[in-house]
């Protein structure tokens, strides 16, 4: 080789040694950083792969839904695969509020009455006895009611109406 042992090579070697030896290299850590770093890198690589996969799946799914023009097809197939009732069985999205709000309102109204119906079944003794006992006591106290007084309608007796409270 023509450049071997030339002055340039000697100067190169001298400068290289001087510059590299002048670098303040930190002493190697005793805590085996290579092992720790490997596990962190592994976790980072796995997490990054999962995140990228999820992003690609979402992107492809949205593109496919947009291209087909019927997002419900993919949604319903996914629902079926997950065991959820298909989307077609549900009311349409536009009319979802009014029918659902009505039953909820009617449920809200019906709930106390049904509760009052069910309450006696759950706890039959307290309320009828508390309310009925004075009323019944009075007929018992005066077994012969006055002829002008008509007895209270029987449907009021089992329990109070919601507006009574």
């Amino acid at each position: 080789m023509e450049l071997v042992d030339g002055s340039f090579e000697r100067a190169l070697g001298r400068h290289l040694r001087a510059e590299l030896d002048a670098l303040n290299v930190a002493s190697p850590a005793t805590a085996r950083p290579y092992a720790r770093r490997g596990s962190m890198r592994y976790a980072w690589a796995v997490g990054r792969t999962l995140a990228v996969g999820l992003a690609v799946a979402l992107l492809l799914g949205s593109v496919a839904a947009f291209a087909s023009g019927d997002p419900g097809k993919f949604v319903s197939s996914a629902e079926r695969s997950l065991g959820i009732p298909p989307f077609d069985d549900k009311p349409p999205i536009g009319s979802l509020k009014s029918p659902s709000s009505r039953p909820s309102e009617s449920e809200g109204r019906a709930r106390p009455s049904s509760g009052s119906q069910s309450e006696p079944a759950e706890s039959p003794t307290p309320e009828p006895t508390q309310r009925a006992s004075p009323e019944r006591e009075s007929p018992e106290a005066s077994p012969s009611p006055e002829p002008g007084h008509s007895p209270e309608p029987p449907e009021h007796s089992p329990g109070p109406l919601p507006g009574d409270d």
């Binding site: 080789m1 340039f8 400068h15 290289l16 510059e19 590299l20 002493s27 085996r32």
Partner: protein, 184 residues
């Protein structure tokens, strides 16, 4: 006639005895060779911080491969090979990363180095960094570690002729940039 690449066991003396797969031996190798590996990498990647990062990555790779290390190959030569490959990958990644800024600079008149920076930075390492990484690795193994071409060929896994060509090309480029006299 085609040259056969010499194996490291043919040319490099075993400096210490290590057992593959034994963590304590890898710890010894790590402590013994960390600074040398960092200095080798600094001449390829250009900065000490990047060299330390590359060295850590190289030791991580080496630690994973440590059970498969063949004891007939000197451990430090094996380590240098991994480290040089890591530095080459680093340089490639860095080139890709710097591509957008390079494109943004297209058309802008080139600016010279900052005079203050020129005073404080060393002359040779930035020039080595401008070389192709394989040439820089051959230069530093030759002129810093003092390996012969045959030993470098064994470390890098190439033929002696390839090593000679790389060093010759690197020296020609350095001479044109630094001056013939070597008074850089």
């Amino acid at each position: 006639m085609l040259e056969r690449a010499a194996t490291p066991a043919d040319v490099l003396p075993a400096l210490a005895h290590y057992t593959p797969g034994v963590p304590a031996d890898f710890d010894r190798l790590y402590r013994a060779s960390f600074a040398r590996v960092v200095r080798t990498l600094a001449s390829i990647v250009g900065s000490l911080e990047a060299a330390e990062d590359c060295a850590q990555e190289a030791f991580t790779r080496a630690y994973r491969a440590w059970p498969n290390w063949e004891a007939r190959v000197p451990a430090e030569a094996w380590l240098h090979r991994i480290a040089v490959n890591t530095a080459i990958s680093y340089r490639r990644r860095e080139q890709i990363r710097s591509l957008p800024s390079l494109l943004m600079r297209l058309g802008v008149p080139p600016t010279g180095p900052d005079p203050a920076e020129r005073v404080h930075t060393r002359a040779l390492l930035p020039e080595l960094r401008r070389l192709p990484p394989k040439q820089a690795a051959a230069v530093v193994l030759r002129y810093y570690h003092g390996y012969s071409n045959r030993e470098i060929a064994a470390v890098l896994g190439v033929s002696e002729r390839t090593v000679g060509q790389r060093i010759s090309d690197a020296l020609a480029m350095l001479r044109s940039r630094l001056g013939e006299s070597g008074s850089f």
